[in-house]
Structures are given as structure tokens and as C-alpha cells.
Point group: C2
Chain length 206, copies 2
């Protein structure tokens, strides 16, 4: 993080810009403005201009942005101009749904390893993916060199499994468990917790 | 929103405070500090104090917060001191995983209606939940009075289904599709998109 002066909150908005621009590209839209992009995402045009200006000059006053150019630039900034391999740990209902989800592959992420501690699941296949036992996890991940894991194990084992992932060389964890992981500072963790989102909305419904 | 002067970004952090405090409560911890809470969540103590001060005085200088009192207060602020009914639209892999997930019920959210347009799924049961056809959706939701929907339909039908949900009286949508929904301003929409989270992390891995 020390090498990286750009606030994380800005970094976190870039994938949302990219998603909206990808849709424009698919719809044949060639140029856009911060105004138009902002309306598509629900972020102010001023915020978008300010965020993007952190990374360079992507558009000209009055002529707007080339959608293709901005997509290319954002992909390069986010390092998704290449494809990434993923590890899936926990092949319950949610893990299975993630393993089957086509949206990852389409956008450059591919699950190449899957682990579960349920002996009924070990050895079974989900598409091209064969579920392996947790006992081989550290070795398999180390050998694969994969850096990103999706964690969908029960809450009670989340911390222990995450620690093994870090030992295996994992640098980033997409955490689907409701557990706040306590890991070395250099490990990136992002949380997906529908309860947090639901409670955010009920604030406004009360 | 006009009635509500508290920035949405602050509101969005409250469920994360509540989640950490819930864990403390379950672990028998009776008092905490903004320092300790901050370390558990990865947010600065100053930020937590500033956020909470928007809603009142919850702790005393030097003695910290009563965990139970703060949980009660946050639950009241977020309106989760009552239980909420949910509608699930789209019973594919992910929708099925959500329908089976026990974490919602445990934290006061209960899926009471589920819809899908696949005639093979209509009439089938997931636990106590019977999947209904989309043709009865507007009527069933209107009659139920449910205000919150989880949307797990294919991207191509997300906007149309969301518009029907709004017509049915839905006020808040947890959107699992990668589609930016274009809905009346008073409808709350929160997005769950693992790709956005993965791309946020690859920025730091590059």
C-alpha cells in the first residue's frame, strides 16, 4: 500500500466504471461523457472526472471519452488486461453456484482448483473442475501459483482456512463468510455479505 | 434522501460495526472501544467515533462502549430490531443457494416468496418455500406487502423484472445481476458483484 498513493475508495469505483463502459461497448456506443457515465452508474460526473484524473488524462474537454480507449486504460490499471486463475475453497450450495457461474470466465477469471473437506464431495466434478480434499490444499495451491481465492467455507473454519491459504501463497481473498479475517496486512480481503447490504437498505425503509 | 442528512457512506458502514459487535456479544465481551472495534473491522478508531457521533452519544470518554447497548442502538437505527420478509426472484444455482442459506433467518431476514420463469422449477419446493411462476409475481408481492427483493435472474431480463418488482410495491432490491438498474430514485438498490470485488483486488496484485 505504501507504494500506492491512490485512495482505495477510488480504486474500488474503477471496476464499476469499467462494467458500465463494457456495456456501452457491447451496445456499440463509441464515445461517452462523465455526465453520461455518471447517470449510468449513479455517481456524479464531477466525482468520475476527479477519480479518473488520478490516473491520467483520458478525455478532452468538450469531446468526452472514447469508450474503447477508456476500457483499455481501466483494464490495464486494474490488471485485468490479462486473465487470472482462482481457487475456490468450500463447495457447498454457494461454492457450487460460483463454480458454475459463467460470468467469471467471460470477464477473465477462471476457477482452476476447488477444495472441500466433505469426503462425499471430494473427487466429484463440477464442469471441468474436480473437487479436491483440504489435506492437499496447501501443496496444490503452492504448486499452481494461484494468487486469488474465493472463500465459501462455514464461518467456524474461515479464519483457519484463510491462514492456510496465506501459507499457500494466496495474496487476495474474496470472503463470502461473515467472518472478519485477521490476516497479514499485505493480504487483500474483500467481503461479500448480503446481510450488510440488506441492513444498509432497511435503514431507509424503516 | 432529502429527509436524511446522514451520508450514505456512513450508513453503509453501520452494518459492518453491527456485525463485529454481534460477534463480540456472542463471545461474551461486554465493553469495547472504538480502537478495539476498529481493529476488528479494519477501520480507524477516529472514523468509527465520527460515524457513531452522527447518531448520538453511545459511549463515555475513557470507559468505552457497552457492546449490548451499542448493538441495540445500531439495530434500532438500521431498523433490524424487527424481522423483514424478502422476495427471491430467480431460482437458478445462486438463487437456490440463497434460499437455503440459514444466515438470513438467523439475522432477521426471511425469504417468503420465490419466483422463476422456468416451468420445470415452478411448483418445486426449497425447504418451506414453493417456487411460483413469474406470471403471478406482481399480484403475490402486492398482496404480501413485502418491500425487499433479491434479484438473481439472468442479466438480459434484470431491468424488466426490476420494473415489475417496483410496480408490485418493492422498495429495495439486492441486485445479484451485473446490470446497473435504471429505476425511480426512491428505490434503493444495492449491488453484489464478485467481479467488481475481484477487479478491485487485482489492482493491487498487478
Amino acid at each position: 500500500m505504501a507504494k500506492n498513493p491512490i485512495p482505495d475508495i477510488i480504486v474500488g469505483r474503477l471496476p464499476r466504471y469499467l462494467r458500465a463502459l463494457d456495456i456501452m461497448l457491447r451496445n456499440g456506443i463509441k464515445t461517452t461523457s462523465s455526465q453520461e457515465l455518471g447517470e449510468a452508474i449513479g455517481i456524479s460526473a464531477a466525482q468520475i472526472r476527479k477519480d479518473l484524473s488520478q490516473f491520467g488524462e483520458f478525455g478532452k474537454q468538450g469531446t468526452g471519452y472514447s469508450v474503447r480507449y477508456l476500457v483499455d486504460q481501466l483494464q490495464a490499471i486494474l490488471h485485468v488486461d490479462r486473465s487470472w486463475d482462482l481457487v475456490l475453497v468450500g463447495v457447498g450450495d454457494l461454492g457450487t453456484a460460483l463454480a458454475r457461474y459463467q460470468g467469471f470466465v467471460n470477464r477473465g477469471f477462471r476457477i482452476i482448483l476447488a477444495f472441500d473437506n466433505d469426503t462425499d464431495k471430494v473427487g466429484k466434478s463440477i464442469g471441468n473442475l474436480k473437487v479436491m480434499g483440504m489435506d492437499s490444499m496447501e501443496e496444490e495451491i503452492s504448486r499452481s501459483g494461484v494468487k486469488i481465492a474465493m472463500l465459501t467455507v462455514p464461518a467456524s473454519s474461515a479464519q483457519a482456512v484463510a491462514e492456510t491459504l496465506v501459507k499457500s501463497g494466496i495474496k487476495a481473498i474474496l470472503n463470502y463468510t461473515p467472518v472478519q479475517l485477521n490476516l497479514p496486512e499485505e493480504i487483500r480481503v474483500e467481503y461479500i455479505d448480503p446481510l450488510v447490504k440488506l441492513q444498509h437498505m432497511t435503514y431507509y425503509l424503516g
